[in-house]
Symmetry: C2
Subunit: 131 residues, 2 copies
DNA sequence: GACAAAATGATAATGGATTATCATTATTAA
DNA sequence: TTAATAATGATAATCCATTATCATTTTGTC
């Protein structure tokens, strides 16, 4: 039977509260503020369970192990900071890209990833930013 | 000293001839037609060397180990077939996506990946295709 | 052709992420 | 409360891609 433990509550809360895809390690760090002794194995187990239940989804960014965000959000994409490594959620999507596919190909979906520096990293080491 | 071996010639030829990003295993299979005894270690070694020389670049698709294509192509993106797993090159790019980044973020690049079925896989199991 | 050195191929070793194990702890229903 | 058992945490084990090792082969030079 599914039991409601402090650990699971903490992990679920973290994914509710932090609106960007989190790696298992990031989930661990954040959830340990709520449940100090929390172990990484429990994080993996809980994330896996949440994905199976449809409560969370894995977000795959090129060259990285999966991160996790809560499911149910509307179609969106991500920003990957090359300085701190964090992933962020972007709002909206510029459209359908099926027209890019060669003749005879059947497009079912797409992924867009922006790379650059997040606001925090731009501050830390200033330069041109999105106005 | 850099020596020109049959193995390297074969691996380089494969990347010239096949215009889509290839995994080390795909490179191995293709190059073994030219050099039967070719080993996977040589493929990894040669690909690594080609990237260092700037002759090839790694292509990272979400959730996959790097594939390799020859460098020098103009800005483009990729299509990933969910049926056969092959990656394909797409022509052109619909534009700049920096406007999608939140205020304060500095965008330096972007990646687009289309998912669906390649022409060959559509044929094998027909359905709607790009007209 | 002979030699020195780079390259190869087979495979063991490595590294990082994820999963399994298992003794201990915590939750839930009675 | 208690009993039954699911969940946890520490860590060993696993998995897979990639790299290192090393005896053998091949290349380029004389």
């Amino acid at each position: 039977m599914e039991r409601s433990t402090r650990q699971r509550q903490a992990i679920r809360a973290v994914l509710e509260e932090i609106d960007r895809p989190l790696s298992p390690q990031e989930v661990l760090s954040a959830a340990q503020h709520k449940v100090p002794g929390l172990g990484i194995a429990t994080v993996y187990r809980t994330l896996k369970g949440m994905v199976e239940e449809g409560m969370a989804v894995a977000v795959e960014l090129p060259g990285n192990p999966p991160r996790y965000e809560r499911s149910g959000k509307k179609h969106h994409h991500h920003f990957h900071c090359i300085a701190c490594g964090k992933a962020f959620e972007l709002e909206g999507c510029p459209g359908d890209f099926a027209f890019m596919a060669p003749r005879g190909f059947q497009t079912q979906g797409h992924e867009i990833v922006l790379y650059g520096r997040c606001a925090e990293c731009c501050q830390r080491n200033p330069g041109a930013t999105t106005p």
